[in-house]
């Protein structure tokens, strides 16, 4: 126990005053010699006992009053029960520098708290100081003395990454301790930090929790329908998760250059919502944040989307009006595609096109086959093959490279219908709710033999749509003799989804802090600097080979759910409040109240 005003302790000597008064009073009392006290005793034996007790109680009250008064004035301070001063230990100190600690002055508070706790230990104690999210370049830490530990704490910087104790302990297991080992974690004690952590074989594992704000996180920003044909606008879905147990209302704000759009949203407790934002097609990157949350840092979300532009399609072979009108319905309506027609590919510069549709072509030259192979090797290109009457060798060879073999032509008795459609194939997701596929009739089609993905099958298990990488083969072409699919409402969306499905477009150019970087390419960082790290260490827009990518902090970091008491108990963790844990409890008021209470007690005793 410490005293802020120790000079008042001299006042304790005044305790002698009531004692002196007591004895003086006794001395002052008239002494009466009496023949025998036996009648006095028997007369009021109980009362006499009470009087004697009362006398002692009054003396005690007076002594406690004086002691309480002067102890109260001397401002006694109780030290923390956890941190007895000058404890000698080997302290494995982990300072949480994860992104969630960026809220307000939390990280600054954590550093300050760490300093205070370090100072509680004996100067001879040794420390192993680690950030929860260490740099890639961090060398093996070492046991150091208290002064160095204080310096090292100050050098730790806030990270944009998430950290796990398990990972830290795996990378830097404590060893060669001289004193009893103690773990000391200082941070917001998010549940995820302790994920998969096995109980440590240590008597003391302190978690000093720095309280954090509320916990809302933007989980993901995605295109509502990536395979929808591009128009003037597209729709983004912002998935926001509320990790807290109370509902939250806030505004989703998208900012991209001068463009700004806001939308209010209610998020249920412990749930998530997808907020849809309609964005002009020209805006392909931006920053979204959710206003009304205390922890802004994890609600800032950089996005970069590859919005399908106006694709250039080359239709080679037979002119199929159904196909052309499906791709380009009217000159007055904006078409997401630009269609060119050619009899052969021999004289066409394929570099101008994104997609080639080979319609009813029996065979191609060897040179054309090589051109098509080169075309398929590029990004954002694809070929749809609609077979004709036969398939020549060069064509077969090209298809064989993609493990697709065109077999004999099948003419079923009557017609065949679609038995199976792969709804897990992303372009076909939208057809889950659509009926009517079974009414489509196929009168003639080619039997296809393949080991690759079959996206649709006909009755009799004949593959209808086969897809390998960016090559797609439809078992028949769209002529009235072969099928009536052109007359069904699903025809137009099916054609568009087949096209957008094979161009191998990555719609999400998004990464997380901590993702490994392709270091062979030149990367320009968020501030225009050349980025030279092995992992993304901070969020923002990066440019790789002219392409913009967005790097964000994992939304889980926004889950500020604190580790439960049960989990702490199972991990043998002691939770310490950063203030109360070290707080020297001021007992002044308690002592002064005790003093006052003694005055009241004495008055009561005197009145009885």
């Amino acid at each position: 126990m410490n005293f802020l005003n120790p000079h008042f302790l001299f006042g304790l000597s005044f305790i002698s005053i009531p004692i002196i008064i007591h004895f003086w009073f006794r001395k002052r009392l008239k002494r009466v010699s009496f023949s025998s006290l036996q009648f006095l005793k028997t007369a009021e034996e109980k009362r006499l006992r009470w009087l004697k007790l009362k006398e002692i109680l009054i003396l005690i009250c007076r002594c406690i009053f004086v002691a309480g008064l002067f102890l109260g004035l001397s401002r006694p301070q109780l030290k923390s029960k956890f941190f007895a001063p000058n404890r000698l230990a080997s302290v494995y100190l982990i300072l949480d520098n994860s992104w969630s600690m960026g809220y307000g002055k939390n990280f600054f508070r954590a550093v300050e708290t760490a300093e205070k706790f370090i100072n509680q230990y004996s100067p001879q104690s040794e420390f192993f100081v680690l950030p929860l999210c260490p740099d890639e370049n961090l060398k093996e830490p070492f046991w150091t003395n208290r002064d160095n530990a204080l310096k090292m704490i100050k050098e730790i910087k806030l990270s944009y990454d998430s950290g796990r104790l398990k990972e830290i302990l795996r990378r830097f297991p404590p060893k060669n301790m001289r004193y009893p080992l103690e773990y000391l974690y200082i941070g917001d004690a998010q549940e995820l930090i302790f994920e998969e952590l096995a109980p440590l074989n240590v008597k003391k594992f302190f978690v000093v929790r720095i309280p954090n704000g509320t916990n809302i996180g933007i989980e993901r920003v995605s295109l509502k329908d990536p395979f929808a044909p591009s128009t003037n606008y597209y729709q983004l879905v912002v998935n926001i998760r509320n990790f807290s147990p109370s509902p939250c209302r806030g505004t989703v704000n998208l900012q991209s250059g001068d463009f700004n759009i806001q939308k209010e949203s209610d998020i249920p407790p412990a749930g998530s919502v997808g907020v849809e934002l309609t964005v002009p097609a020209g805006i392909k990157k931006g920053v979204i944040h959710f206003i009304e949350d205390s922890l802004m840092a994890d609600n800032l979300y950089f996005f970069s989307k590859s919005i399908p532009g106006r694709l250039k399609i080359l239709l080679v072979g037979e002119i199929n009006q159904y196909l052309i009108s499906a791709l380009k319905p009217s000159i007055r309506i904006f078409s997401p595609v630009e269609v060119s027609v050619a009899n052969t590919i021999r004289q066409v510069d394929l570099r101008k096109f994104n997609v080639i549709i080979l319609n009813g072509i029996s065979d191609i030259s060897e040179n054309d086959a090589m051109k098509l192979s080169d075309f398929l090797a590029k990004r954002n290109t694809g070929i749809i093959f609609l077979p004709g009457e036969t398939a020549g060798d060069n064509l077969r060879k090209l298809l064989k490279n993609y493990d697709i073999k065109i077999q004999k032509k099948v003419t079923p008795q009557g017609y065949a219908t679609i038995k199976y459609l792969d709804f897990d194939y992303p372009p076909f997701n939208i057809f889950k709710e659509v009926s009517g596929f079974k009414n489509i009739k196929f009168f003639n089609f080619f039997e296809i033999s393949t080991q690759v993905k079959i996206r649709a099958r006909l009755i009799g298990d004949y593959p209808l749509i086969v897809n390998n990488k960016n090559l797609l083969v439809f078992a028949t072409n769209f002529s009235e003799e072969n099928t009536d699919i052109m007359f069904h409402p699903v025809f137009v969306p099916l054609i568009h989804r087949l096209i957008y499905g094979i161009i191998n477009q990555n719609f999400d150019n998004e990464f997380w802090v901590g993702d490994v970087v392709d270091t062979t390419k030149i990367i320009i960082g968020p501030d225009g600097e050349y980025f030279r790290g092995e992992k993304f260490t901070r969020p923002g827009f990066y440019t790789i080979s002219g392409e913009t990518i967005a790097v964000n902090v994992a939304s889980k970091e926004g889950n500020l759910k604190v580790i439960s008491r049960e989990a702490m108990s199972s991990l043998n963790i002691q939770l310490i409040d950063p203030i109360k844990g070290l707080a020297r409890q001021d007992l002044s008021i308690s002592f002064l109240i005790l003093s006052l209470f003694m005055v009241v007690m004495e008055m009561i005793l005197l009145l009885i």
Binding site: R26, V32, S33, S35, S36, L37, A43, E44, L51
Partner: protein, 295 residues
């Protein structure tokens, strides 16, 4: 001069006219005023009784025969002196009193009684005691004995604790010859045990007179201030607020006295309460009058 303090002529003038007569006639060898239980040849006529076979013919009263024509025997009471034992309690509690302590009062009383005994030529002895017997002057009618007795009374000072019942019991064993035992004490002991001891005197045919001496303050408890009361015998101290306990004390003390009075009566022991504010001679006079009526 000091001796005369106990023989105040005024006091003695008032009580010497009264005969101190023992209830029971004890054996003695000095002639006095007392009746002897041994009827025989004596000057004091006792009674007539019819002649029965075996009586000596010389004891027949021929004058009565002449008047009544029947044989009667004339009986005489043998006169003898009384052996008196004055038991003076000089325990600490007897030292209590303001103008006159209980012990002083008891000493006056003892001296008066001794003188009465002496004047009647009765043998008188004195025994002073507290926790044990301090002085034991055997009974004697000689003048020198009286002088020693007065000296013993004179030097008696209040001192130790009392153990009245034990001392009385011891004395009952020690005093072989029957006599008049006068106990002068405040009787501050357990009544049951005191009475038991007194009964042992009675068992030995002693006549007992108990003077219980108390101080008026013991009776009325006229204290008001909170004071430290100190026990004169044990030295024990108690801080007492008299107002709060007065009534209760008085009741207890009254019960104590009444209990003695009642139990003494039951045991055929003469008992007299003597307050020190009552002039001792008056108290003694009243007692002797009462004794006279009893005899």
């Amino acid at each position: 001069m000091e001796k005369k303090k106990y023989l105040d002529p005024e006091v003695l003038a008032r009580i010497s006219n009264l005969d101190l007569r023992a209830k029971l006639v004890v054996e003695g060898f000095l002639t006095g005023l007392h009746h002897s239980p041994f009827k025989g040849f004596s000057q004091e006529f006792a009674d007539y009784r019819p002649y029965i076979l075996g009586d000596e013919p010389k004891r027949i009263d021929w004058k009565v025969y002449a008047r009544r024509d029947r044989f009667y025997i004339k009986e005489y009471q043998e006169e003898t002196n009384l052996r008196g034992y004055i038991l003076l309690d000089k325990s600490g509690s007897m030292g209590y009193g303001e103008k006159i302590t209980k012990l002083e009062y008891a000493k006056f009383l003892s001296a008066c009684l001794a003188y009465l005994f002496f004047k009647q030529k009765d043998g008188v002895g004195i025994i002073t005691f507290d926790t044990k017997i301090n002085d034991f002057i055997p009974p004697s009618a000689k003048k020198i004995n009286f002088t020693r007795l007065i000296e013993t009374i004179e030097k008696a000072n209040a001192g130790n604790e009392t153990s009245l019942s034990r001392v009385l019991f011891e004395l009952a064993q020690r005093i072989k010859r029957r006599g008049l035992v006068i106990i002068i004490s405040d009787l501050f002991d357990f009544p049951e045990q005191v009475l038991k001891s007194l009964r042992s005197f009675r068992a030995r045919k002693h006549e007992i007179i108990v003077f219980q001496v108390i101080d008026p303050k013991e009776h009325t408890f006229p204290f008001f201030e909170t004071s430290i009361f100190e026990d004169l015998e044990t030295g024990e101290q108690l801080i007492i607020q008299p107002d709060s306990i007065r009534e209760s004390y008085r009741k207890k003390f009254e019960d104590f006295l009444n209990n003695y009075q009642k139990r003494m009566l039951e045991a055929h022991i003469d008992y007299q309460l003597m307050r020190t504010d009552t002039p001792y001679d008056r108290g003694l006079f009243a007692f002797l009058q009462k004794r006279a009526r009893l005899l």
